[in-house]
Symmetry: C2
Subunit: 283 residues, 2 copies
C-alpha cells in the first residue's frame, strides 16, 4: 500500500508511524511546504520519499491531509479533481463544516472521507510524532453518507490497525461539540498565559511560585498559532458563543466573591466538581 | 521528635509521610474534625496516635496546621496561647496575609512560622497523601523576621529532609503572586467545567469528544470547595483584579475573532507561547 502524507507534523507523522508498525510494505510519500520538516520526516522514518501533490495524486492509494484547516480547504478540491479509481482522500482537520461544505458538490466527493482524530499533544512538527498517539483514541467521521463504500472500508481498516474507536456525526454537531471540549480549552489557556505574562512586567518573580496546577492549566498555551488561528476562524460562530458563556461563568463567580457569598462560591465549585467522572476517564 | 499534625489531608499527610521516611523515631500525633480521616490516617501510618489540640500543645515539638485558611486563623492564636519553650507552630495555608495579621501582635509570635508549600494535586484527604509530594518543591515562608531563630532552624531542617527549596517573601507579595499563578488557575478550571456541563443539558454526548487537552485544562475543577472557598475569600482583592484582567484578555481575543483579524489572533497566541519556558520547568 502507498500513502501520500500531506503535512508532516505531529498528527500526520504519528498516523504514518503507527501504520508503518502494523502494515508490511507500507510506503509513505511526503509533501510539506516546510523543507526542514520534509528532511526531518525522512530522517525519522515517517516518510520513505519526498514527493509533490501532483505526484501523490498519480501514485498513491490513500492521501492524508494533516495541514491547517484553511489549507485543507484550498488543496482538497484540487486533489479531488485529479483522483480516480478507488483512491481515498482523508482530511484530519479540527473543524469539519467549512471543509465538508467546500467539496459538497464536487463530482468526485465520494473519494473523500472527512475525519478528525481526537488525539494530540501541545507539541508540533515531525519530531513531536510518535507511533502510539492514536492508540485507542476516537476517530470521528462526518457526512459519511457522501463518502464511497470502498473509501470507507479502506479508511476503517487503517483506523482499526491503530485500535481507534470510530464515531459518526454531522459536521455541525462536530464543530459545536469541539468548540466546547477542545477549542475553548485552548482559548482559556492562551488567555491565562497572557494574563500572568502581563503581570510579570511588574512582578518579575511571579513564576517562582507556579506549580503543577498552573502548568496543567496553561499547557495548551504552548500550541501552534499556525494551526489554531484557522481553526478559531472556521469555528467562529460556536466559539463566540462558548467564550460568552465562559465569561458569564467567570462573572457569576466574581459576583459571589465580591458579595462574600460563601454558599454561592461552594455551589459553583460543587457543580464544577462533577467533571470528575469525565476527566478520570480521559488520559 | 514529636509532631502534632492538625489536619490530616493531602498536604499534612504527605508532609508527615515524607518526614517519617527520613527521621528515625519520629512520632506523629493527629488531630482532625473528620473522624473518618483520623482512623484512615492511623491505618495508613500517617499518624501514630489520635490526639486533641490541647494534648499536642502540651506534648509535641512541632505543630503543623494543614487545615483550611479560615480555620487556621481561628485556632492559631489559641495554640500560641498555650505553647512555650522552643515549640514551633507552622501553618501551610495557601494565603498568608490574613493569617500573619491575625497573630502579628501575639506575645508568642516568635513560636510561629508562616509557610506555604507549593505542592499539591487535585485530590484530597489522607488517602491522597504520598511521601514524595514535597520532594524538590518550593517552601515559601513569610515574615520570617517575626519568627524565632530556634523555630526557623527546626523548620528549615524539616524541609531539608524533604529536599525542599526555601523561598522568603512578604505576605502581601505571596498573596498577589499566588492569586495569579495558582488561585486564578483554579477559577478558570471551575468556570470551564461549568460552561461545558451546562452545554451537556442540550448536547448530551458532548464529552464523547473530550481529549487529553480538555482534561489537563479542567483538572483543577476537581479541587475541594472546603479548601478553596476560604482561600478565595481571604485573597479576594487580588483575585478580583486577576479575574478582571483575565476577562479583559478573553474580550480582546473575542474582538479579534469577531473582526476576523488573523494577525491579532496570531499575536495573541504567539505571546501566550512564551509560557513554554516556564511550564517546561514545572512538573
Amino acid at each position: 500500500m502507498k500513502i501520500g502524507l500531506v503535512g508532516l507534523g505531529l498528527i500526520g507523522g504519528s498516523f504514518a508511524l503507527g501504520l508503518k508498525e502494523k502494515i508490511e510494505n507500507l510506503e509513505v510519500l511526503g509533501v510539506d511546504q516546510n523543507t526542514d520538516h520534509l528532511f526531518k520526516a525522512k530522517e525519522l522514518g515517517i516518510i520513505d520519499e519526498i514527493s509533490t501533490l501532483d505526484e501523490i495524486c498519480r501514485q498513491v492509494d490513500v492521501i492524508i491531509l494533516s495541514i491547517p484547516v484553511n489549507a485543507i480547504r484550498q488543496v482538497l478540491p484540487r486533489i479531488l479533481d485529479q483522483v480516480n479509481g478507488n483512491q481515498l482522500v482523508v482530511d484530519f482537520g479540527s473543524t469539519k463544516k467549512a471543509i465538508c461544505d467546500s467539496v459538497r458538490h464536487h463530482s468526485k466527493r465520494q473519494h473523500f472521507v472527512a475525519a478528525h482524530p481526537i488525539a494530540g499533544t501541545e507539541y508540533s512538527g515531525p519530531q513531536a510524532a510518535f507511533k502510539e498517539l492514536f492508540e485507542e483514541k476516537v476517530m470521528i467521521t462526518c457526512e459519511q453518507e457522501l463518502s464511497g463504500q470502498n473509501q470507507l472500508v479502506v479508511f476503517n481498516e487503517l483506523c482499526s490497525h491503530l485500535d481507534m474507536k470510530m464515531r459518526f456525526m454531522t459536521a455541525e454537531v462536530h464543530d459545536l461539540h469541539l468548540a466546547f471540549v477542545s477549542h475553548l480549552s485552548h482559548i482559556t489557556s492562551f488567555a491565562l498565559s497572557n494574563t500572568v505574562l502581563d503581570k510579570k512586567d511588574t512582578e518579575s518573580h511571579i513564576f517562582d511560585m507556579a506549580g503543577s496546577g498552573f502548568a496543567s492549566t496553561v499547557r495548551l498555551a504552548k500550541s501552534s498559532p499556525d494551526m489554531w488561528a484557522p481553526i478559531f476562524q472556521e469555528n467562529k460562530a460556536h466559539l463566540l458563543e462558548g467564550i460568552d458563556e465562559y465569561i458569564a461563568q467567570l462573572q457569576s463567580f466574581k459576583e459571589s466573591l465580591e458579595d462574600g457569598n460563601e454558599e454561592e462560591l461552594r455551589a459553583f465549585m460543587q457543580k464544577a466538581n462533577m467533571i470528575k467522572e469525565t476527566v478520570d476517564q480521559l488520559k
